[in-house]
Amino acid sequence: MSLKHDIEFTLNGVKRRVAVDVTMNTLAMLRDVIGLTGTKYGCGEGECGACTIQVDGASLNSCLMFAVDCDGRNVTTIEGLANDGRADALLDAFVEHGAVQCGFCTPGMVMQADHVLHKHPRPDEACVKRGIEGNLCRCTGYKKIVDAIVAADGA
Protein backbone atom coordinates (compact mmCIF):
# COMPACT_ATOMS: atom_id res chain seq x y z
CA MET A 1 0.00 0.00 0.00
CA SER A 2 1.18 3.43 -0.76
CA LEU A 3 1.97 5.74 2.13
CA LYS A 4 -0.86 8.02 3.20
CA HIS A 5 -0.66 11.30 5.05
CA ASP A 6 -3.36 13.48 6.58
CA ILE A 7 -3.33 17.09 5.55
CA GLU A 8 -5.49 20.02 6.51
CA PHE A 9 -5.89 23.01 4.28
CA THR A 10 -8.34 25.61 3.10
CA LEU A 11 -9.96 24.77 -0.22
CA ASN A 12 -12.04 27.47 -1.84
CA GLY A 13 -12.60 29.11 1.53
CA VAL A 14 -13.56 25.92 3.35
CA LYS A 15 -11.26 24.19 5.81
CA ARG A 16 -10.88 20.53 5.08
CA ARG A 17 -8.95 17.50 6.07
CA VAL A 18 -8.03 14.78 3.63
CA ALA A 19 -5.84 11.69 3.62
CA VAL A 20 -3.69 11.60 0.48
CA ASP A 21 -1.07 9.32 -0.98
CA VAL A 22 2.25 10.97 -0.28
CA THR A 23 3.33 10.57 -3.90
CA MET A 24 0.10 11.98 -5.33
CA ASN A 25 0.10 15.36 -7.01
CA THR A 26 -2.37 18.10 -6.18
CA LEU A 27 -4.13 17.73 -9.53
CA ALA A 28 -4.95 14.09 -8.82
CA MET A 29 -6.08 14.97 -5.30
CA LEU A 30 -8.44 17.64 -6.57
CA ARG A 31 -9.89 15.54 -9.37
CA ASP A 32 -9.83 11.99 -8.08
CA VAL A 33 -9.97 12.33 -4.29
CA ILE A 34 -12.01 15.48 -3.79
CA GLY A 35 -13.96 15.34 -7.07
CA LEU A 36 -13.44 18.86 -8.35
CA THR A 37 -12.95 18.39 -12.08
CA GLY A 38 -12.69 22.00 -13.23
CA THR A 39 -8.91 21.75 -12.93
CA LYS A 40 -7.74 19.89 -16.05
CA TYR A 41 -4.97 17.45 -16.88
CA GLY A 42 -3.23 18.59 -20.05
CA CYS A 43 0.31 17.27 -19.80
CA GLY A 44 1.32 16.48 -16.22
CA GLU A 45 4.64 18.25 -16.72
CA GLY A 46 3.88 21.92 -16.14
CA GLU A 47 4.08 22.72 -19.84
CA CYS A 48 0.45 23.53 -20.61
CA GLY A 49 -1.13 25.32 -17.63
CA ALA A 50 -4.51 23.54 -17.87
CA CYS A 51 -4.18 22.55 -14.22
CA THR A 52 -3.44 26.03 -12.88
CA ILE A 53 -4.69 26.74 -9.37
CA GLN A 54 -3.82 29.39 -6.81
CA VAL A 55 -2.02 28.58 -3.60
CA ASP A 56 -1.53 31.29 -1.00
CA GLY A 57 -2.36 33.85 -3.67
CA ALA A 58 0.12 32.64 -6.30
CA SER A 59 -0.74 30.67 -9.41
CA LEU A 60 0.82 27.22 -9.68
CA ASN A 61 0.59 24.14 -11.85
CA SER A 62 -1.22 21.65 -9.65
CA CYS A 63 0.44 18.79 -11.54
CA LEU A 64 3.82 20.03 -10.28
CA MET A 65 2.81 20.13 -6.65
CA PHE A 66 2.72 17.25 -4.19
CA ALA A 67 -0.69 17.02 -2.58
CA VAL A 68 0.93 16.80 0.86
CA ASP A 69 2.45 20.20 0.20
CA CYS A 70 -1.06 21.71 0.38
CA ASP A 71 -0.92 21.14 4.14
CA GLY A 72 -1.67 24.35 6.01
CA ARG A 73 -2.10 26.37 2.83
CA ASN A 74 -4.89 28.25 1.12
CA VAL A 75 -5.88 26.64 -2.16
CA THR A 76 -8.25 28.10 -4.73
CA THR A 77 -9.51 26.24 -7.79
CA ILE A 78 -11.68 27.40 -10.68
CA GLU A 79 -14.73 26.23 -8.74
CA GLY A 80 -13.82 28.57 -5.91
CA LEU A 81 -12.98 31.48 -8.15
CA ALA A 82 -16.11 31.06 -10.25
CA ASN A 83 -18.42 30.78 -7.27
CA ASP A 84 -17.34 33.55 -4.98
CA GLY A 85 -18.14 36.38 -7.38
CA ARG A 86 -14.70 37.93 -7.22
CA ALA A 87 -13.85 36.90 -10.76
CA ASP A 88 -17.23 37.62 -12.36
CA ALA A 89 -15.86 40.40 -14.52
CA LEU A 90 -13.11 38.12 -15.76
CA LEU A 91 -15.45 35.23 -16.53
CA ASP A 92 -17.86 37.57 -18.28
CA ALA A 93 -15.01 39.00 -20.32
CA PHE A 94 -13.95 35.52 -21.45
CA VAL A 95 -17.50 34.84 -22.64
CA GLU A 96 -18.09 38.24 -24.24
CA HIS A 97 -14.77 38.37 -26.07
CA GLY A 98 -15.02 34.88 -27.53
CA ALA A 99 -12.04 33.63 -25.53
CA VAL A 100 -13.58 30.16 -25.23
CA GLN A 101 -13.70 27.54 -27.98
CA CYS A 102 -13.25 23.92 -26.94
CA GLY A 103 -12.83 25.32 -23.44
CA PHE A 104 -10.43 22.71 -22.14
CA CYS A 105 -7.65 25.21 -21.42
CA THR A 106 -10.08 27.83 -20.18
CA PRO A 107 -10.33 27.12 -16.43
CA GLY A 108 -6.54 27.12 -16.12
CA MET A 109 -6.36 30.20 -18.29
CA VAL A 110 -8.90 31.98 -16.07
CA MET A 111 -6.98 31.05 -12.92
CA GLN A 112 -3.76 32.40 -14.39
CA ALA A 113 -5.47 35.50 -15.76
CA ASP A 114 -6.89 36.25 -12.32
CA HIS A 115 -3.40 36.03 -10.89
CA VAL A 116 -1.96 38.28 -13.61
CA LEU A 117 -4.63 40.89 -12.94
CA HIS A 118 -3.87 40.87 -9.23
CA LYS A 119 -0.18 41.33 -9.82
CA HIS A 120 -0.45 43.79 -12.66
CA PRO A 121 -3.58 45.89 -12.45
CA ARG A 122 -4.41 47.44 -15.82
CA PRO A 123 -1.97 45.34 -17.77
CA ASP A 124 -1.14 46.04 -21.40
CA GLU A 125 -1.29 43.33 -24.06
CA ALA A 126 2.39 42.48 -23.80
CA CYS A 127 2.13 41.99 -20.05
CA VAL A 128 -0.89 39.72 -20.43
CA LYS A 129 0.80 37.67 -23.14
CA ARG A 130 3.82 37.10 -20.94
CA GLY A 131 1.53 36.42 -18.01
CA ILE A 132 -0.18 33.51 -19.80
CA GLU A 133 2.90 32.16 -21.58
CA GLY A 134 2.60 29.00 -19.50
CA ASN A 135 -0.94 28.27 -20.69
CA LEU A 136 -1.33 26.53 -24.03
CA CYS A 137 -4.46 26.95 -26.13
CA ARG A 138 -4.89 25.09 -29.42
CA CYS A 139 -8.15 26.68 -30.57
CA THR A 140 -8.21 30.44 -30.22
CA GLY A 141 -4.79 31.68 -31.24
CA TYR A 142 -4.79 33.53 -27.88
CA LYS A 143 -5.88 36.89 -29.29
CA LYS A 144 -9.37 36.83 -27.83
CA ILE A 145 -8.04 35.53 -24.53
CA VAL A 146 -5.64 38.46 -24.33
CA ASP A 147 -8.44 40.86 -25.30
CA ALA A 148 -10.66 39.40 -22.58
CA ILE A 149 -8.04 39.74 -19.85
CA VAL A 150 -7.15 43.29 -20.82
CA ALA A 151 -10.83 44.22 -20.92
CA ALA A 152 -11.69 42.45 -17.67
CA ASP A 153 -9.57 44.83 -15.69
CA GLY A 154 -11.22 47.83 -17.25
CA ALA A 155 -14.65 46.41 -16.53
Binding site: S2, L3, H5, V22, T23, N25, G44, E45, G46, E47, G49, T52, A58, S59, L60, N61, C63, L64, M65, F66, V68, D69, D71, G72, Q112, H115, V116, R130, G131, I132, E133, G134, N135
Partner: protein, 288 residues
Protein backbone atom coordinates in the same frame (compact mmCIF):
# COMPACT_ATOMS: atom_id res chain seq x y z
CA UNK B 1 5.73 0.33 -5.99
CA UNK B 2 7.95 2.58 -3.95
CA UNK B 3 9.98 2.03 -0.87
CA UNK B 4 8.76 5.32 0.47
CA UNK B 5 7.97 4.76 4.11
CA UNK B 6 8.00 8.17 5.72
CA UNK B 7 6.88 11.72 5.02
CA UNK B 8 8.51 14.44 7.08
CA UNK B 9 8.01 18.20 7.06
CA UNK B 10 10.60 19.64 9.47
CA UNK B 11 10.15 23.10 10.90
CA UNK B 12 13.80 23.76 11.69
CA UNK B 13 17.11 23.33 9.94
CA UNK B 14 18.36 21.11 12.75
CA UNK B 15 15.48 18.70 12.28
CA UNK B 16 16.11 18.63 8.57
CA UNK B 17 19.83 17.87 8.64
CA UNK B 18 19.26 15.34 11.42
CA UNK B 19 16.82 13.57 9.13
CA UNK B 20 19.33 13.67 6.28
CA UNK B 21 21.93 11.82 8.31
CA UNK B 22 21.15 8.37 6.97
CA UNK B 23 21.17 9.69 3.42
CA UNK B 24 18.04 7.81 2.30
CA UNK B 25 15.99 10.95 1.84
CA UNK B 26 14.40 12.68 -1.14
CA UNK B 27 14.19 16.43 -0.59
CA UNK B 28 11.07 18.26 -1.72
CA UNK B 29 11.16 22.03 -2.13
CA UNK B 30 9.09 23.72 -4.86
CA UNK B 31 8.25 20.37 -6.40
CA UNK B 32 8.24 21.62 -9.99
CA UNK B 33 10.83 19.09 -11.02
CA UNK B 34 10.41 16.30 -8.48
CA UNK B 35 6.64 15.96 -8.95
CA UNK B 36 6.61 15.17 -12.68
CA UNK B 37 9.85 13.19 -12.52
CA UNK B 38 8.54 10.96 -9.76
CA UNK B 39 5.08 10.65 -11.31
CA UNK B 40 6.64 9.48 -14.55
CA UNK B 41 8.87 7.06 -12.69
CA UNK B 42 12.06 8.75 -13.83
CA UNK B 43 13.00 9.54 -10.23
CA UNK B 44 12.40 7.10 -7.43
CA UNK B 45 11.50 8.60 -4.09
CA UNK B 46 13.67 7.23 -1.31
CA UNK B 47 12.76 5.97 2.15
CA UNK B 48 11.82 9.42 3.39
CA UNK B 49 10.25 12.29 1.51
CA UNK B 50 11.28 15.45 3.33
CA UNK B 51 9.38 18.64 2.58
CA UNK B 52 11.61 21.59 3.50
CA UNK B 53 8.95 24.26 2.93
CA UNK B 54 8.44 25.00 6.61
CA UNK B 55 12.09 25.65 7.54
CA UNK B 56 12.39 29.38 8.23
CA UNK B 57 16.21 29.35 7.87
CA UNK B 58 15.85 28.55 4.17
CA UNK B 59 13.76 31.61 3.35
CA UNK B 60 14.39 35.24 2.70
CA UNK B 61 16.58 37.49 0.62
CA UNK B 62 18.86 39.70 2.68
CA UNK B 63 21.98 41.82 2.50
CA UNK B 64 24.65 40.36 4.78
CA UNK B 65 27.75 42.53 4.73
CA UNK B 66 28.83 42.78 1.11
CA UNK B 67 26.87 39.69 0.09
CA UNK B 68 23.32 39.13 -0.91
CA UNK B 69 21.98 35.98 0.67
CA UNK B 70 19.20 34.25 -1.19
CA UNK B 71 17.55 31.51 0.85
CA UNK B 72 17.25 28.17 -0.91
CA UNK B 73 13.45 28.34 -0.74
CA UNK B 74 13.25 31.72 -2.45
CA UNK B 75 11.08 31.24 -5.51
CA UNK B 76 12.14 32.55 -8.88
CA UNK B 77 9.32 35.09 -8.63
CA UNK B 78 10.49 36.31 -5.21
CA UNK B 79 13.99 36.75 -6.54
CA UNK B 80 13.06 38.71 -9.63
CA UNK B 81 10.76 40.99 -7.67
CA UNK B 82 13.04 41.62 -4.70
CA UNK B 83 14.39 45.19 -4.40
CA UNK B 84 17.90 44.04 -3.46
CA UNK B 85 18.15 41.78 -6.47
CA UNK B 86 16.68 44.38 -8.78
CA UNK B 87 19.15 46.98 -7.56
CA UNK B 88 22.34 44.94 -7.48
CA UNK B 89 21.79 41.90 -9.67
CA UNK B 90 19.74 42.93 -12.71
CA UNK B 91 21.32 40.17 -14.77
CA UNK B 92 19.78 37.62 -12.42
CA UNK B 93 16.40 39.29 -12.77
CA UNK B 94 16.72 39.00 -16.52
CA UNK B 95 17.51 35.31 -16.33
CA UNK B 96 14.59 34.75 -13.96
CA UNK B 97 12.34 36.50 -16.43
CA UNK B 98 13.24 33.87 -19.04
CA UNK B 99 12.61 31.03 -16.59
CA UNK B 100 9.79 28.65 -17.55
CA UNK B 101 6.38 30.22 -16.93
CA UNK B 102 4.79 32.40 -14.26
CA UNK B 103 3.28 29.34 -12.58
CA UNK B 104 6.64 27.60 -12.40
CA UNK B 105 8.44 30.78 -11.32
CA UNK B 106 5.91 31.05 -8.49
CA UNK B 107 6.70 27.55 -7.28
CA UNK B 108 10.26 26.74 -8.34
CA UNK B 109 13.01 27.61 -5.90
CA UNK B 110 16.59 28.72 -6.41
CA UNK B 111 17.77 25.83 -4.27
CA UNK B 112 15.92 23.39 -6.46
CA UNK B 113 17.22 24.96 -9.65
CA UNK B 114 20.79 24.64 -8.37
CA UNK B 115 20.40 21.08 -7.12
CA UNK B 116 18.80 19.96 -10.38
CA UNK B 117 22.05 20.95 -12.06
CA UNK B 118 20.52 21.13 -15.51
CA UNK B 119 23.08 22.00 -18.18
CA UNK B 120 20.52 24.51 -19.42
CA UNK B 121 19.38 25.79 -15.99
CA UNK B 122 18.33 29.38 -16.50
CA UNK B 123 19.50 30.91 -13.21
CA UNK B 124 22.81 29.09 -13.13
CA UNK B 125 24.58 31.07 -15.82
CA UNK B 126 24.11 34.49 -14.17
CA UNK B 127 24.93 33.00 -10.77
CA UNK B 128 28.19 31.66 -12.20
CA UNK B 129 29.25 34.98 -13.66
CA UNK B 130 28.19 36.75 -10.46
CA UNK B 131 30.62 34.50 -8.58
CA UNK B 132 27.94 32.99 -6.38
CA UNK B 133 28.70 30.43 -3.73
CA UNK B 134 26.42 27.84 -2.36
CA UNK B 135 26.00 27.11 1.36
CA UNK B 136 25.45 23.55 2.53
CA UNK B 137 24.28 22.37 5.92
CA UNK B 138 24.71 18.93 7.46
CA UNK B 139 25.01 17.26 10.82
CA UNK B 140 28.11 15.06 10.69
CA UNK B 141 28.12 14.78 14.50
CA UNK B 142 25.44 16.08 16.81
CA UNK B 143 25.86 19.65 15.69
CA UNK B 144 24.75 21.65 12.70
CA UNK B 145 27.66 22.24 10.32
CA UNK B 146 27.63 24.70 7.42
CA UNK B 147 30.17 25.22 4.68
CA UNK B 148 30.27 27.01 1.37
CA UNK B 149 31.67 26.21 -2.02
CA UNK B 150 31.90 28.27 -5.19
CA UNK B 151 29.05 27.46 -7.53
CA UNK B 152 31.63 27.04 -10.29
CA UNK B 153 32.85 23.85 -8.62
CA UNK B 154 29.41 22.61 -7.52
CA UNK B 155 28.21 20.94 -10.72
CA UNK B 156 29.48 17.52 -11.72
CA UNK B 157 27.16 16.35 -14.48
CA UNK B 158 23.54 16.54 -15.59
CA UNK B 159 21.56 16.38 -12.34
CA UNK B 160 24.76 15.70 -10.37
CA UNK B 161 26.44 17.99 -7.86
CA UNK B 162 29.06 17.82 -5.12
CA UNK B 163 26.33 17.98 -2.48
CA UNK B 164 26.41 14.77 -0.47
CA UNK B 165 23.25 12.87 0.38
CA UNK B 166 23.50 14.18 3.95
CA UNK B 167 23.66 17.83 2.96
CA UNK B 168 21.02 20.44 2.37
CA UNK B 169 21.50 23.61 0.33
CA UNK B 170 20.51 26.48 2.61
CA UNK B 171 21.26 29.51 0.49
CA UNK B 172 23.33 31.06 -2.25
CA UNK B 173 25.51 34.05 -1.55
CA UNK B 174 26.38 36.57 -4.19
CA UNK B 175 28.96 39.31 -3.67
CA UNK B 176 27.47 42.75 -4.26
CA UNK B 177 29.05 43.81 -7.53
CA UNK B 178 31.62 46.58 -7.32
CA UNK B 179 31.56 49.83 -9.22
CA UNK B 180 31.78 49.67 -13.01
CA UNK B 181 30.43 46.14 -12.94
CA UNK B 182 28.75 45.03 -16.12
CA UNK B 183 26.85 41.81 -16.62
CA UNK B 184 24.82 40.44 -19.49
CA UNK B 185 22.73 37.32 -20.00
CA UNK B 186 21.32 35.94 -23.20
CA UNK B 187 19.12 32.90 -23.58
CA UNK B 188 18.67 31.60 -27.09
CA UNK B 189 15.32 29.97 -27.57
CA UNK B 190 12.28 30.59 -29.73
CA UNK B 191 10.04 31.87 -26.96
CA UNK B 192 10.51 34.54 -24.29
CA UNK B 193 10.37 31.80 -21.67
CA UNK B 194 8.89 28.27 -21.30
CA UNK B 195 11.74 27.07 -23.42
CA UNK B 196 14.82 24.99 -22.77
CA UNK B 197 17.80 27.05 -23.89
CA UNK B 198 19.49 26.09 -27.13
CA UNK B 199 22.44 27.92 -25.62
CA UNK B 200 22.74 30.59 -22.97
CA UNK B 201 25.55 32.97 -22.30
CA UNK B 202 26.51 35.07 -19.29
CA UNK B 203 29.27 37.65 -19.32
CA UNK B 204 30.33 39.79 -16.36
CA UNK B 205 33.29 41.91 -15.37
CA UNK B 206 34.54 45.37 -14.63
CA UNK B 207 34.44 47.78 -17.52
CA UNK B 208 36.61 50.80 -17.05
CA UNK B 209 37.82 53.10 -19.81
CA UNK B 210 36.70 50.57 -22.38
CA UNK B 211 38.78 47.76 -20.84
CA UNK B 212 37.28 44.57 -19.40
CA UNK B 213 38.77 43.05 -16.27
CA UNK B 214 37.72 40.51 -13.61
CA UNK B 215 36.03 38.77 -16.51
CA UNK B 216 33.68 35.87 -15.98
CA UNK B 217 32.02 34.08 -18.87
CA UNK B 218 29.65 31.15 -18.53
CA UNK B 219 27.82 29.06 -21.10
CA UNK B 220 24.70 26.93 -20.73
CA UNK B 221 23.59 23.93 -22.81
CA UNK B 222 27.00 23.34 -24.40
CA UNK B 223 28.38 20.83 -21.90
CA UNK B 224 27.12 18.30 -19.33
CA UNK B 225 26.92 21.14 -16.79
CA UNK B 226 26.71 24.91 -16.96
CA UNK B 227 30.33 25.89 -17.45
CA UNK B 228 32.71 28.76 -16.92
CA UNK B 229 34.67 29.40 -20.09
CA UNK B 230 38.26 29.94 -18.99
CA UNK B 231 39.81 30.37 -22.42
CA UNK B 232 37.21 32.92 -23.40
CA UNK B 233 37.70 34.70 -20.08
CA UNK B 234 41.46 34.82 -20.65
CA UNK B 235 41.02 36.15 -24.16
CA UNK B 236 38.85 38.95 -22.83
CA UNK B 237 40.68 39.76 -19.59
CA UNK B 238 42.37 43.15 -19.67
CA UNK B 239 41.37 43.79 -23.27
CA UNK B 240 39.90 46.90 -24.77
CA UNK B 241 36.48 46.08 -26.25
CA UNK B 242 37.20 47.02 -29.84
CA UNK B 243 35.95 45.23 -32.92
CA UNK B 244 39.11 43.15 -33.30
CA UNK B 245 39.00 41.94 -29.69
CA UNK B 246 35.33 41.13 -29.92
CA UNK B 247 35.89 39.07 -33.07
CA UNK B 248 38.78 37.25 -31.47
CA UNK B 249 36.95 36.52 -28.21
CA UNK B 250 33.91 35.25 -30.10
CA UNK B 251 36.13 32.91 -32.11
CA UNK B 252 37.81 31.63 -28.94
CA UNK B 253 34.38 31.03 -27.41
CA UNK B 254 33.25 29.03 -30.43
CA UNK B 255 36.33 26.87 -30.29
CA UNK B 256 36.17 26.42 -26.55
CA UNK B 257 32.71 24.85 -26.31
CA UNK B 258 32.09 21.19 -27.06
CA UNK B 259 28.33 20.91 -27.38
CA UNK B 260 26.35 17.91 -28.62
CA UNK B 261 23.53 17.32 -31.11
CA UNK B 262 20.10 16.88 -29.56
CA UNK B 263 16.45 17.52 -30.42
CA UNK B 264 16.89 21.24 -29.83
CA UNK B 265 19.90 21.91 -32.04
CA UNK B 266 23.04 20.46 -33.57
CA UNK B 267 26.47 21.01 -32.11
CA UNK B 268 27.40 23.03 -35.19
CA UNK B 269 24.56 25.46 -34.69
CA UNK B 270 25.30 25.78 -30.98
CA UNK B 271 28.89 26.71 -31.74
CA UNK B 272 27.73 29.24 -34.29
CA UNK B 273 25.37 30.76 -31.75
CA UNK B 274 28.05 30.89 -29.06
CA UNK B 275 30.14 32.83 -31.54
CA UNK B 276 27.45 35.16 -32.82
CA UNK B 277 25.83 35.89 -29.48
CA UNK B 278 29.10 36.39 -27.65
CA UNK B 279 29.95 38.90 -30.32
CA UNK B 280 26.57 40.57 -29.98
CA UNK B 281 26.74 40.76 -26.18
CA UNK B 282 30.25 42.20 -26.20
CA UNK B 283 29.29 44.74 -28.85
CA UNK B 284 26.39 45.85 -26.69
CA UNK B 285 28.68 46.13 -23.66
CA UNK B 286 31.15 48.15 -25.71
CA UNK B 287 28.42 50.50 -26.91
CA UNK B 288 26.79 50.92 -23.49
Amino acid sequence: MTELKHYFAPTSLDQAVECLKDGDVTILAGGTDLTPQSQAGRVKIKHTLMNVRHIPQLSGITLEGREIRIGALATITEIMEHPLVKEHLPVLVEACDHFASDQIRNAGTIGGNICNASPAGDTLIPLLVLNASVELASMPEAKLYRHSMPLSTFFVGPGKTRKSLCELVTCVRIPVPAENHVARFYKHGTRPALDISTISIGVAGTLKDGVMSNVRVAFGAVAPTPVRASQTEQALEGQRLDAATIDKVAAVARDEVKPIDDVRATAWYRKEMIHNITKRILSHVAQA
